[in-house]
């Protein structure tokens, strides 16, 4: 049976069903029993499973994440929640030095089946320390898988896949998506980590987007269609492992790529998409790859500044327009050079 539920409740359902199915699964972290820290994503879980398995922790991000890793080494499958991705910076040592390295560093003899759930909490005049999106940092670390669901269906399926995965998985959800409604099966299912989703087919340009930017890309694609431009939209879903095949196949088909990621420009995930496409599909490109990202500035507070700060569908539309402006001369110049 499939019914419509919200992204937030899809996360909640995934956690609940996994905890029902597997005694080794438990939640811990700051605010998992709080009425506001994590939206509705843990509502009712403590009543159902008790305070041992839904452990609202002191503000000790470093040790709490270390606890989760240690428990994972002892046959548990913890989900450690960081209600603001910014707060998880205090746990980066455990995530990147311990969890990420453990399996390789010890010759493959031990593994760390932990989910590190970090919530992007942008907007709402929360300013620089409650709004950040650090997916690029985690995707940079070799031993971590990194997922960012953009739909309720993926929110549930990726969390289940993440908990079942035998590696450390960084699961990044976005507060701006919590109220989005979508079709979600009642039964358990996994969305495979490492597979992107084709959200819209089109032959003229490819927009490769992460998380919330997928929705913006879909809006942009709708408007671009009105101008006669058919946009293919790829939802990355899994930043690592990355579905290179789907992205490259689309880049080769359209020859024009825009990468949209709601984090900073410099050394960001959009840069990785750009480098990968240029390196692997250069012969088929007819325009430079453009990035749509946050500007290289901390998140502001004032609502007028926030409006200027966060990229939206208009920015994607503009990038596509620029790509088309360039593609003619770019192709000609390349032909001439050959």
């Amino acid at each position: 049976m499939v019914r419509e539920i919200s992204y937030g409740m899809a996360i909640n359902e995934a956690a609940r069903q996994m905890m029902e199915q597997d005694d080794s699964v438990f939640l811990l972290g700051q605010g998992v029993n709080s009425p506001w820290y994590v939206g509705n994503t843990t509502v009712g879980l403590k009543d159902k499973f008790g305070p041992d398995r839904v452990f609202d922790t002191p503000v000790s991000e470093n040790a709490v994440t270390g606890l989760a890793i240690g428990a994972a080494l002892a046959h548990m499958r913890p989900v450690v929640v960081h209600p603001r991705m910014d707060f998880a910076l205090l746990a980066v040592e455990q995530i990147m030095n311990q969890a990420s390295n453990w399996h390789y560093m010890f010759g493959g003899k031990v593994n760390v089946p932990v989910v590190i759930r970090a919530i992007i909490n942008r907007g709402g005049e929360q300013a620089a320390q409650h709004s950040q999106a650090f997916q690029a940092i985690y995707a940079h670390s070799p031993g971590l898988k990194v997922v960012m669901p953009s739909t309720p269906y993926d929110a549930k399926g990726l969390l289940i896949a993440g908990i079942k995965d035998d590696n450390p998985v960084v699961y990044i959800d976005d507060r701006w998506l919590y109220d989005v409604q979508g079709d979600v099966p009642v039964d358990m299912y996994e969305v495979p980590i490492g597979k992107a989703a084709l959200r819209r087919e089109g032959g003229d340009v490819t927009v490769v987007a992460t998380s919330y930017m997928v929705r913006e890309a879909m809006d942009a694609a709708e408007r671009l269609a009105g101008q006669g431009i058919e946009t293919e939209v790829i939802d990355v879903r899994s930043l690592k492992p990355l579905d290179r095949e789907m992205i490259l196949a689309s880049a080769k088909k359209t020859g024009r790529v825009v990468a949209a990621d709601g984090a900073w420009l410099t050394c960001g995930f959009a840069a990785e998409i750009s480098a990968m496409v240029v390196g692997e599909a250069f012969e088929d490109l007819i325009a430079p790859v453009l990035r749509v990202t946050l500007p290289d500035a901390p998140a502001p507070m004032s609502s007028s500044l926030e409006k200027a700060y966060y990229p939206a569908s208009k920015n994607i539309e503009n990038a596509v327009t620029r790509v088309f402006t360039w593609s003619g001369s770019f192709k000609a110049a390349r032909r001439e050079r050959r």
């Binding site: 606890l67 240690g70 080494l73």
Partner: protein, 351 residues
């Protein structure tokens, strides 16, 4: 500095724990002696191998601290977990880790315990409950608390032990971990090897007072200070702490006063740069944990000089054999450089 002041027993560990002295069976005492000899011989051979350049990875030697690892690990079961640090050859061996795989690891061989990916600082032996040693100061403490939480949730009697130095008590994660362990009354034993130095710095240059157990007690965790060069004293404290943890009476903390003979890293003694004095080193060498224990065993009639000589020769031969085996082992092949970044379908196998 004298390491023996303040042996008062705080709340939690009962004075009765000390009476175990008389109850330690002779075979346990002898096995502790052999375990200490093995660690000493392994470490001193490794010191030579660093000097000759055969061992090249950063190697932090345990010489002088043998009584701590052995005293604690003899109080544990195979399926208890231990977590170590950058100076963990002793923990690995005392818990029962394979000597040949240790030597192979330090020589970067494929047959090493971490298949040549970890080296001296990153040892693992899940089959005997060593789930990994981390070279990040203090980080392993939180992992031990997490393993203890798992054991408690699983309803087992297993116990987790964190080994760390006095320097680790200056990391924030130490305090966070103490608080969490006390809050949840987790079956974890914190073993602080206070060898007075954090890398090149003496404790008096890092702390206003040398009073780590006092700091721990305010976290509602019983803490004792023991002579870390006296294996029986360490063992007694560990037996009490582990028993309480198994009975789910909560965590415990043992500060073991000890001293590393070699410098922070490698075979030198850290005398040449004025980091510590010859007098200090010699006073601690005079309190050699192995020598004093052998005297104790001899006075009990459990050991003769000829038997001591024989046991030492056996330990030396075992180390020689392990090194020869390691030298004969293959290096990892180039294709392995990206193996095992991720796993598929693995569950940890331990104890």
């Amino acid at each position: 500095m004298d390491g023996n002041e303040d042996h008062a027993m705080p709340g939690g560990l009962q004075s009765g724990d000390r009476e175990l002295t008389r109850e330690i069976p002779p075979e346990t005492l002898l096995s502790m002696y052999v375990a200490m000899l093995r660690i000493r011989e392994a470490e001193e051979r490794l010191a030579d191998m660093v000097t000759t350049g055969e061992v090249r990875c950063p190697t932090h030697l345990y010489t002088g601290q043998e009584a701590v690892a052995v005293g604690v690990c003899k109080a544990l079961r195979d399926d208890d977990y231990i977590f170590g640090n950058h100076r963990s050859h002793g923990h690995y061996l005392a818990k029962g880790g394979d000597l040949r795989q240790l030597m192979a690891e330090i020589l970067g061989r494929k047959t090493g315990c971490s298949r040549g990916r970890g080296g001296s600082m990153h040892l693992v032996a899940p089959e005997i409950g060593l789930m990994g040693t981390s070279a990040m100061v203090g980080s392993g403490i939180a992992l031990a608390v997490g393993a203890a939480m798992a054991f408690a949730m699983q309803g087992t009697e297993r116990v987790a032990v964190a080994f760390f130095g006095d320097g680790a008590t200056e990391e924030g994660v130490f305090y966070e971990s103490l608080n969490l362990a006390a809050l949840r009354r987790l079956p974890v034993v914190f073993v602080c090897e206070n060898n007075l130095y954090s890398s090149h710095m003496h404790i008096k240059d890092r702390r206003p007072a040398d009073n780590i157990p006092e700091i721990v007690r305010v976290h509602s965790i019983p803490a004792v200070r023991v002579d870390g060069n006296n294996v029986m004293e360490v063992y007694q404290a560990a037996v009490g702490a582990v028993r309480n943890a198994r009975q789910r009476k909560g965590p415990a903390f043992i500060e073991c006063r000890t001293y590393r003979w070699r410098g922070h890293v490698g075979p030198n003694y850290d005398l040449e740069k004025g980091l510590r004095s010859k007098e200090e080193l010699e006073s601690w060498m005079a309190r050699c944990p192995i020598k004093s224990f052998s005297s104790e065993l001899m006075s009990k009639g459990l050991l003769s000089q000829s038997k001591a000589n024989k046991l030492r020769a056996e330990a030396m031969k075992e180390v020689d054999d392990a090194i020869a085996w390691a030298r004969d082992s293959p290096m990892p092949t180039e294709t392995e450089v990206t193996h095992d970044v991720f796993t598929s379908g693995q569950r940890n196998v331990d104890g």
